[in-house]
Symmetry: C2
Subunit: 202 residues, 2 copies
């Protein structure tokens, strides 16, 4: 992967924005096999075939680089969980959840390290994590992407937050040990659990 | 609190085990208002009215002290979530969950810091955390404490794990902002969500 990128980038003249985006794409791709703790400026510079100095030029600091890569990965997650434009509400929810499960499966080291960092007290990564899951919850209420007809109340938001936490725990544990459940079984448990949870609200 | 403890402990001759337990009790009490990050040997020594050297004598290292206090707190959580001996399965589950919610509410700083440490990559605290929640799940299958008649399969364990994660997220967020839900409403959402989750299993 690094070789291909190096060849391409050294032969193509890119604008600074294009080059920055290319480096972020590379950082996100590395998160599919590497945790945030293992991902360093050195690794990225080597993979991209450029100097550390140039990387610092684009991202300022090590934290700036982490932040930009994680935000880029979060944007990918958001795109890959977009519900299909058509279909019954629960079918559209199933489409969105399928995107989430497949994203986590394909990006386990990076996703797990984000959860660790966000839960472990890194405020910047916590903010990106919280903003992302709030944006995913927003979709339930948006006119064009709404998957289920829900009133946007604090109590519904609270339950959606808990359901997201449950989904994350379920998918990460299932990646470690499927416990006899197929991907379809897993998707069914996640989707079927939402309405009963909401129904228990007063 | 510190004053009372100091007076008691300086006037009473305790065995080493009793003194150690007394110090652990004090550490756990401090976790009701203090995070693990803020809880130091210095703070405990001052509250207990003894020297740091004596504390190291009992706990070896700083990590040994943290580990012992967190294990002691986890044992408390386990005791306080014991289901009542009598009653219908869902009533007994409600009793156990009520114990959990009240424990978290009463020990927020300590509980949150344990979650942070366990999620953030502290292996020792992660082990205590995982062991505790596995023991809480074990109760569902024990003959004398079983709250619901469940087969002990990997798939049921997986769902119980996710339900515990959901419950924790729900309670911690509710502590920050009740979203119009009373404690009884919250308990109802938690208890009512379990059977539909399990019902979605193939």
């Amino acid at each position: 992967m690094g070789g291909v990128t190096t060849t391409t980038s050294s032969r193509t003249r890119l604008s600074p924005d294009e080059r920055r985006t290319q480096l972020l794409d590379l950082g996100v791709r590395l998160l599919a096999t590497t945790s945030l703790e293992e991902l360093s400026i050195d690794v990225l510079a080597e993979e991209a075939g450029i100097s550390r100095g140039l990387l610092y030029h684009y991202f300022g600091t090590k934290l700036g680089f982490f932040e930009a890569v994680v935000q880029h990965a979060a944007d990918d997650l958001y795109r890959q969980t977009a519900p299909p434009a058509e279909g019954e509400p629960l079918e559209r929810l199933m489409g969105s959840i399928t995107g989430y499960v497949d994203y986590v499966v394909a990006n386990q080291p990076g996703y797990r390290s984000l959860v660790r960092a966000a839960s472990g007290g890194n405020d910047t990564l916590r903010r990106i994590y919280d903003d992302t899951f709030r944006a995913l919850a927003d979709r339930f209420f948006a006119v064009d992407t709404g998957t289920i007809d829900l009133p946007d109340t604090p109590a519904v938001r609270l339950v959606l937050h808990a359901w997201q936490a449950m989904t994350e725990a379920l998918v990460l544990r299932w990646c470690d040990d499927p416990a006899g459940l197929t991907r379809d079984d897993l998707l069914r448990v996640i989707v079927d659990s939402l309405l009963p949870l909401l129904a228990a609200l007063p």
